[in-house]
């Protein structure tokens, strides 16, 4: 990544964090930097600026991991496997962050950290799938075989994801926006109930976290390539 882009992302995200945390949330906004209340969320709504983009980046990371897995199977070039794991490990990190921010939000909005809301369930399953993915990887010590089998596993896991989307709402009612028990139907973001200024910060954050993910991803890939190379050198001597 270009240096100017790195600086830009840093500044960008710092701005968003300041805006997200420091901009006051009031009933009736007076100035450009005041966010209006969203009914039902009150000032807790500011978490949207962190939780949702992180959740989004998680999805991107896991999707990338699966795509590189498929490319590995076609090309059999170990570099794609490096990319696939790198993305998966960042995905796992982001997934944990999304869970934590979500859980904190849930505590203050719904009263408890965890209540098997469909979305919480699905994120928990994502954690299990990628936990299993890394356990599988650690159980295979031959590079090519490890790459092949973990790609296959991520594909198999990938095709089950749509089923969760169908199954989950049938099984359990939830509190999360978009699920069965939510009378208003869609939540504030999906309906764009946010005020324009907040919406702007929200989208800025979405972009910011996505770019941050790609930055971290490229760092991780480079780190893994170097590690592999060093290992190669030490092994042959």
């Amino acid at each position: 990544m270009k240096t100017w882009l790195k600086i830009a992302v840093s500044v960008w995200l710092t701005g968003i964090i300041i805006a997200g945390i420091a901009f006051p949330m009031v009933k009736v906004p007076q100035t450009w930097y005041e966010f209006p209340f969203i009914p039902g969320l009150e000032e807790k709504a500011r978490n949207i600026i962190f939780h949702v983009p992180i959740s989004w980046a998680t999805v991107v990371a896991f999707a990338m991991s699966m795509i590189y897995g498929i490319i590995y199977l076609r090309k059999k070039d170990i570099d794609y496997d490096l990319r696939s794991v790198s993305s998966a490990s960042l995905g796992l990190l982001l997934c944990i962050l999304a869970t934590v921010t979500g859980a904190i939000w849930a505590k203050f909005n719904w009263g408890s950290f965890w209540n098997w809301d469909p979305r919480q369930t699905s994120i928990f399953i994502l954690l299990l799938i990628y936990g299993a993915y890394f356990v599988l990887r650690s159980a295979i010590d031959e590079e090519e075989r490890r790459a092949t089998l973990s790609s296959v596993y991520s594909i198999i896991a990938g095709v089950t994801v749509p089923f969760f989307i169908f199954v989950m709402p049938r099984i359990m009612s939830g509190l999360h926006p978009g699920s069965l028990g939510d009378e208003q139907g869609k939540g504030p973001v999906l309906e764009f109930k946010m005020a324009p200024n907040m919406l702007m910060v929200f989208f800025a954050s979405l972009i910011g976290f996505t770019v941050l993910y790609f930055w971290m991803y490229s760092l991780k890939v480079r780190q893994m390539r170097i590690e592999r190379h060093v290992q190669q050198i030490t092994e042959t001597h």
């Binding site: 399953i125 092949t148 089998l149 296959v152 594909i155 089923f163 989950m168």
Partner: protein, 223 residues
């Protein structure tokens, strides 16, 4: 067709081999019998809700399946016969033969579990038997579809035993949840049509899983 005949012979081989060694059967029966009696014991005097009972029914089926099916490919690998088989037949036949065998094994097993459940656990009253048995049938198919490819994966890993349920559970969860739901419907005396949605999910899960496995199996099977 050639592929059908070779798959059939693989199936017969699995079957006779199991009959000779009784390896999977042993493990399966032990888990089923022990688990069922613990459940019976811990239920004791009280009557747990139908929800919990449907849940435990599928947990027992899931774990028994896990302990029995993992050997299908591991046994080939450990005894050094996988090379023989790889040289004899194309990957697809191996996959189909093992899939059908696994399905048969798991079906027999879950029928045994289900029958003893209905007989011994009096709180568990099935009202719509069509739904119940269809769920057992389709659930077994779904379990077999996912666990065949996963068994092939773990056969190549260094640790085998505990890895299987770990890999399988998150993948099988939508299946299990749907099965539990359908079982509940059966105990609530719902009409067959009310469970159509569940059956659709089960069937499409199985079909998608088999189709995907079919595409990727060659990568797993060939070193």
């Amino acid at each position: 067709m050639m592929i059908i005949s070779t798959s059939y012979h693989i199936f017969v081989k699995e079957f006779v081999s199991e009959f000779r060694t009784r390896y999977a059967l042993n493990a399966l029966l032990m888990f089923v019998v022990t688990t069922l009696s613990i459940i019976l014991f811990s239920i004791g005097q009280e009557s747990p809700s139908i929800d919990v009972l449907s849940g435990t029914l599928w947990i027992v089926i899931f774990f028994s399946a896990m302990s029995g099916l993992s050997r299908t490919f591991v046994a080939e690998e450990e005894r050094g016969t996988s090379l023989t088989l790889r040289l004899l037949v194309n990957a697809s036949s191996v996959y189909i033969g093992k899939l059908v065998y696994n399905f048969a094994l798991i079906l027999v097993l879950s029928v045994i579990i289900a029958v003893s459940y209905v007989l011994f656990i009096t709180e568990f009253t099935v009202k719509t038997f069509e739904i119940f048995w269809l769920t057992i049938l389709l659930g077994s198919a779904g379990l077999a579809s996912a666990s065949t490819i996963l068994a092939a994966i773990i056969a190549k890993a260094n640790t085998k035993g505990t890895l299987f349920p770990v890999l399988a559970f998150p993948i099988l969860l939508p299946l299990l949840l749907t099965c539990i739901n359908a079982t509940k419907l059966a105990t609530e005396g719902a009409f067959l049509v009310e469970a159509v949605k569940e059956f659709q999910i089960l069937i499409s899960f199985t079909v998608v899983m088999i189709a995907t496995s079919f595409l990727v199996f060659d990568f797993v099977w060939k070193d």
